[in-house]
Amino acid sequence: MSTPDAPLVEVEGATRRFGSFTAVDNVSMRVERGEIVGLLGANGAGKTTLIKMVLGLIAPTGGTLRLFGREPSRQTRRQLGYVAQGLGLYADLTVRENLAFVAEAFGRPRPSELPGPLRGTEDRLVGEIGWGLQRQLAFVAALGHGPKLLVLDEPTSGVDPLARARLWDTVHEQADSGTGVLVTTHYMQEAQQCDRLVLMSRGRQVAAGTEKDIIGPTTAVEVRTDAWARAFDALIDAGLPATLAGRHVRVADTALPRVGEALERAGLRAEVRQVPATLEERMTSIDRAA
């Protein structure tokens, strides 16, 4: 059964209960070809359970989940590449041995040449090559069989900025050539690399769309003052959700006058203005409301 036009991932009202606990509650989402979809949420939001359902590790207790237009099966796994948070590499095997194992598992020839920074590490134990290189190796292993869908769980944690940019180059390249990418992340910078975002909170999908769609018209208040520490304390003491941004203070989810009042009451003079909210601020307020 070949369904070339079906979405790579199509989740419709998927629910997963563990006993009385509902980890994923009526979530619907899809990943199309060539699309990078970011999955964001607080801990316990249900991201991991949803990812495991997509991977076929957990079956939903309700709703449907289809991969490439079909029920998840051993066949769908052949078209799936997965980089786990823990990378899932064998630390006691060499780089070459790890790749050979994966290649054989997928019935593929062994990769003949490794990309740049991994070159020369072929015969070193994976446990000895450092976290950044291990990440890159995990990507090579996950891409070796030309998957149609790439699932990435916190793909760049612990990686330096340049290496992170390189990994995202790879992700974009995959997407450009038609691969769908589903990626979980805790970091807004990475969320900005995605085409679409799905926000989860307590098992539910609370927002979806582009970064712009999600932020919408929401704003935050920026407070510029020489005495940021005093302003910060005054705003916190007034019960406002102030955060520090460099030497400025930002207050999310709060009307401009309230911030002004709080500062005035503390006898502080500051430049206060309304600015577009950040994705993080928006996400936090959506999560708090849910």
């Binding site: 950044g132 900025p161 955060t243």
Partner: protein, 374 residues
């Protein structure tokens, strides 16, 4: 001593590897100083020299007495088999805190960390975010004047991270000198000063605005911007109409989003309005020196902008990547690209893909199709 704690010209060697190479980090009171870098960059080593666990081979360390330092190690440093209250009790006992002082401090810190109701819960049963907030509270319990935090936000969800950052900011606002390591630049951007480490060496150091302003070389952005301006709206319309046809393996919606994103970024281009009407920028020539930001390509080259080139005002991420590339180029011997530092990991092994899936080719095609549609 004054409030100017820090590490000055510190070098640390472990056997033959140099973990820190002449690194200077000032940790002034009343502000947050961030250390950025990947695993193995030397962040932890530098923090450990500050708390006195690792003696430097050379250089000087200026820190308060040990009992005035609060330290939060990478692995969070809470005792998982103890309850929240018992964790506090233990650390309090270690610092000789008791009676009313302890009661007050406990209430204040757990309240601020959102842990007030869960004193009986085992630390091991807390969520990652709550556990980090507990670890932070433990490090803060004895009112240290120097607070050393090793990747406090790693593995913490975005919502808890906002809380954690608020706690850290509060500590700085109350006068503590805070040094914190992070692998993420968006966090570093909010600190008063940033030290970017790579393989034990300093890539950049200073307030975020200085780091971005002093980024080496020139960063340019290349994407079909003019086409984007014209095309974006049309594509979005077609998407709304349900015409989400695939186009050469890349959905039109994606293209639209890509181009729209590029258009949004225009305001960051130096020169602003003057750019209107200029032709499409070419695809990046040199992949080794370019990187993706969503749907844009950012490219770096050493030296000032060339004739007719419009440099981008780099943000923190661009600046750090530029610094890393400049550093690499300098070490490779004068900026000439060797080919070895191409870090293209997609071309590993048989991917069974169209060989044209090289960036330039795809981009050219995309740009061409946009031209037609327009």
């Amino acid at each position: 001593m004054s409030g100017e704690w820090g590490a000055y010209g510190v070098t640390v060697r472990f056997g033959r590897t140099t973990a820190l190479d002449d690194v200077t980090l000032e940790v002034p009171a009343g502000q947050v100083t961030a250390l950025v870098g990947g695993d193995g960059a030397g962040k932890t080593t530098l923090l450990r020299t500050l708390v006195g666990v690792v003696p430097p081979d050379s250089g000087t360390i200026s820190v308060p007495a040990l009992r005035d330092i609060g330290f939060m190690p990478t692995a969070s440093g809470v005792w998982r088999d103890l309850s929240v209250d018992e964790n506090v009790d233990f650390v309090a006992a270690a610092y000789g805190l008791r009676g009313a002082e302890l009661r007050g401090r406990r209430a204040e810190l757990l309240e601020a960390a959102g842990l007030a109701g869960v004193g009986d819960r085992l630390a091991g049963q807390l969520s990652g975010g709550m556990r980090q907030k507990l670890a932070f509270s433990l490090a803060m319990l004895h009112r240290p004047t120097l607070l050393v935090l090793d990747e406090p936000s790693t593995g913490v969800d975005p919502v808890s991270r906002v809380d954690l950052w608020r706690l850290i900011a509060r500590a700085a606002a109350d006068g503590a000198a805070v040094a914190m390591a992070t692998t993420y630049l968006d966090e570093a951007e909010r600190a008063a000063a940033v030290l970017v480490l790579d393989e034990g060496r300093t890539l950049a150091y200073g307030p975020p605005e200085k780091v971005t302003a002093q980024a080496p070389g020139t960063v340019t952005v290349s994407v079909a911007r003019e086409a984007a301006r014209l095309q974006g709206a049309a594509d979005r319309d077609s998407r709304l109409a349900g015409g989400e046809a695939n186009h050469g393996g890349v959905s039109v919606a994606r293209e639209a989003a890509r181009l729209q994103g590029a258009a949004d970024r225009d305001s960051r281009l130096a020169g602003g309005e003057a750019n209107h009407g200029s032709p499409t920028t070419a695809a990046p020539v040199d992949r080794g020196y370019s990187w993706r930001r969503g749907h844009e390509f950012h490219t770096w080259h050493p030296g000032p902008p060339g004739p007719g080139e419009r440099p981008l005002e780099p943000d923190m991420e661009d600046a750090v990547i530029a610094a890393a590339l400049a550093d690499r180029a300098a070490r490779a011997g004068g900026g000439a690209r060797t080919g070895e530092d191409r870090e293209d990991i997609a071309d590993a092994g048989p991917t069974g893909r169209d060989p044209n899936s090289d960036n330039g080719a795809v981009r050219a095609e995309a740009a061409g199709s946009e031209g037609r549609n327009a």
